[in-house]
């Protein structure tokens, strides 16, 4: 089971890095989406896949009857998902805004803040 997930993580990270190297901002964004989801798998794997039984302790006992799943990675992943979702939503809006402003999503063509645009920037203000 763990081996399969390791292979899955490896290939997903490969795909995401390939996407992130693209100059098209939408591809870059999808790369980030895949990468941040893959990291959640890494966290799950780091907590060891020993059992699928939820971590509940029966009433009146001080420890569970059988081997239960590690609840901590689940808490960490939940946090990471929420945070990742917020950041991705922001990035998506940013890319949309960039597209509306510059009429392109090719990052090679967007260098408005760089040196030669100093004078243009001044005039805009």
């Amino acid at each position: 089971m763990s081996d399969t997930i390791c292979w899955l993580i490896g290939s997903l990270i490969t795909i995401s890095i390939y996407l992130m190297l693209s100059t098209q901002l939408m591809r870059w964004l999808f790369g980030i989406v895949i990468l941040s989801s893959t990291i959640n798998l890494v966290i799950l794997l780091a907590g060891r896949l020993s059992s699928t039984v939820p971590a509940f302790i029966p009433i009146g006992q001080s420890k569970p009857d059988q081997l239960v799943a590690n609840p901590l990675p689940q808490a960490l992943i939940l946090t990471a998902i929420v945070i990742g979702f917020g950041l991705l939503a922001f990035s998506l809006i940013l890319v949309r805004r960039v597209w509306r402003t510059f009429n392109t999503t090719n990052s090679d063509q967007i260098h408005y803040a760089e040196f030669q645009y100093l004078n243009v920037m001044e005039e805009e203000k």
Binding site: R48, L76, F115, M121
Partner: protein
């Protein structure tokens, strides 16, 4: 007094709530803003006093015992950095009242500002790696918002680059934290410091530490990972860039210090790597600054260059060197913020950020010229300024451990820094202005609100220059304790480390 460690970010959080509830009333927002900044400054002063007189403060959140729950820990290093945060935030907050355009205030500048502050205070006070990641993210989303607030073309471009590189950095950080958890089964920093030496130092450990160092190095803007900084910082307004310059990259350096002290055995080759990177950071930063004419972009390159000095102190890795690095960091936070604030006034009066178009300030505004003099020469390291002592201490640390090459390099970079400062001086202050009609005098009350924080920061810079021993003693005490983590471990876990 148990809740004392959470006070800094609790104040930021309360400020955020209060300001958000008075969204439509800008005046009320300003009052809350100022009140919160004052409260934060008072709180960090009290916190510093308690930590230096009674020892490390620990709060176990929700009463979960230490390695299982989240620990909020204020040790002397955190206390010093929180104090710096409180002080600089107070000054920048006053400046913001005059500087931020009404349109940006209506877009929600103040709420975003306090989220940023909450993230920074949280990052300085947590004792848990995953919690550190969460605070980094809080800081990140707020900095995105502040950067893009106003929606100008240049801002969009800058934010795009900032977002893309910083997102990768936090993902890398999360990845390495996950792997660390997989290896040791704990994320509590004190517990890690205790457990990690039990594992053989294998390739696995090295790769985890390298990944984590990579993530923090992107945050701290180290060579060759700093490209997001000069692409983004100059596009936004002066207040935002001043608080970014003072605190954001320094949080990266702080995380790097914690990581190195906790996880890295001495004489490891990662330290040599850091030293190399520090040297290159200094050099490339200052060379980048030499060719710039946009005032905020020029100063942004200097942020990078100065980060090199701090990491140099860390990479030499003796208590004395680290203390020098922290002293330098404190000096740099003050001087750098002050420079941004002063040149901000110049841009506002002269209606330009291009130093070639500004001029005549020595003639028309001698007070501003004098105030510029203090942080500029402090940054360059002219005696008896605070920068001189910072660099002297770092040099001494380098010579003591026979790192001659980096010492020579840092001296060379100092000369180039001086060149940059002279360039600003001769362009903005000495040169006659080409268009005198463009200079507009500010209304007097706005002018005074601008000057007040600058004078405050200058006074503290001068105090650090004239009484370095007073500050350095506290810092040396801090680093001695950092290098003997037994006290920290005992305070957090409540047991004698075995």
């Amino acid at each position: 007094m148990n809740w004392l460690p959470v006070l800094p970010f609790l104040i930021c959080f309360l400020a955020l709530i209060a300001i958000s509830f008075s969204w439509s009333n800008i005046l009320l927002q300003k009052i809350w803003h100022l009140l919160a900044a004052t409260a934060l400054f008072i709180a960090v002063n009290g916190l510093g006093y308690v930590v230096f007189h009674q020892g490390i403060l620990v709060l176990q959140v929700g009463h979960y015992p230490a390695p299982y729950g989240i620990s909020i820990v204020i040790d002397p290093l955190s206390a010093i950095l929180l104090w710096m945060t409180g002080l600089i935030n107070w000054c920048v907050s006053i400046y913001a009242l005059a500087d931020i355009h009404t349109r940006r205030q209506k877009l929600g500048f103040y709420p975003a500002y306090w989220v940023l502050l909450m993230g920074i205070c949280g990052a300085f006070s947590t004792g848990d790696l995953f919690n550190l990641y969460v605070w980094f993210e809080v800081m990140l989303i707020a900095s995105f918002t502040l950067l893009v607030l106003g929606n100008q073309k240049a801002q969009l471009d800058g934010t795009l680059k900032y977002v893309s590189l910083n997102l990768v950095a936090t993902i890398l950080m999360l990845l390495s934290i996950a792997m660390l958890y997989g290896m040791t089964g704990t994320l509590n920093m004190a517990d890690l410091a205790q457990k990690l030496p039990m594992y053989p130092f294998s390739g696995m450990t090295t790769s985890i530490i390298l990944l984590l160092a990579l993530a923090f190095a992107i945050k701290a803007a180290l060579f060759p990972l700093f490209f997001w900084l000069p692409a983004a910082y100059h596009t936004t307004n002066v207040t935002t860039v001043a608080i970014f310059a003072a605190l954001l990259t320094k949080v990266g350096v702080y995380a790097l210090i914690r990581l190195t002290i906790l996880l890295l055995p001495n004489n490891h080759y990662i330290l040599s790597l850091l030293l190399f990177s520090a040297g290159m950071t200094m050099l490339t930063g200052v060379l980048g600054a030499a060719s710039q004419f946009h005032i905020r972009r020029l100063l942004s390159f200097h942020i990078i260059s100065q980060i090199g000095y701090m990491v140099m102190g860390l990479a030499i890795y003796t208590p004395f060197a680290l203390a020098s690095a922290i002293f330098f960091m404190a000096h740099n936070m003050l001087a750098k913020t002050n420079l941004f604030l002063i040149t901000g006034i110049c841009s506002r009066i002269g209606h330009s950020s291009d130093i070639r178009k500004l001029g005549g300030f020595y003639q028309h505004f001698p007070v501003i010229a004098f105030l510029f003099f203090i942080p500029a020469f402090s940054l360059a390291g002219i005696p008896p300024s605070s920068g001189f002592w910072g660099k002297l201490l770092l040099l001494k640390a380098a010579f003591d451990t026979s790192h001659y090459f980096i010492a020579a390099l840092s001296l060379f970079v100092s000369v180039l820094t001086l060149y940059s400062m002279t360039k600003i001086w001769s362009y903005i202050f000495w040169k006659e202005t080409s268009s005198p009609d463009k200079i507009t005098n500010l209304p007097l009350h706005v002018y005074y609100i601008y000057l007040l924080p600058i004078i405050l920061l200058s006074l503290i810079t001068l105090a650090m220059g004239f009484f370095p021993q007073f500050f350095f003693n506290y810092i040396l005490q801090t680093t001695e304790q950092l290098f003997h983590p037994a006290l920290y471990i005992q305070a957090v876990l409540g047991v004698q480390p075995g």
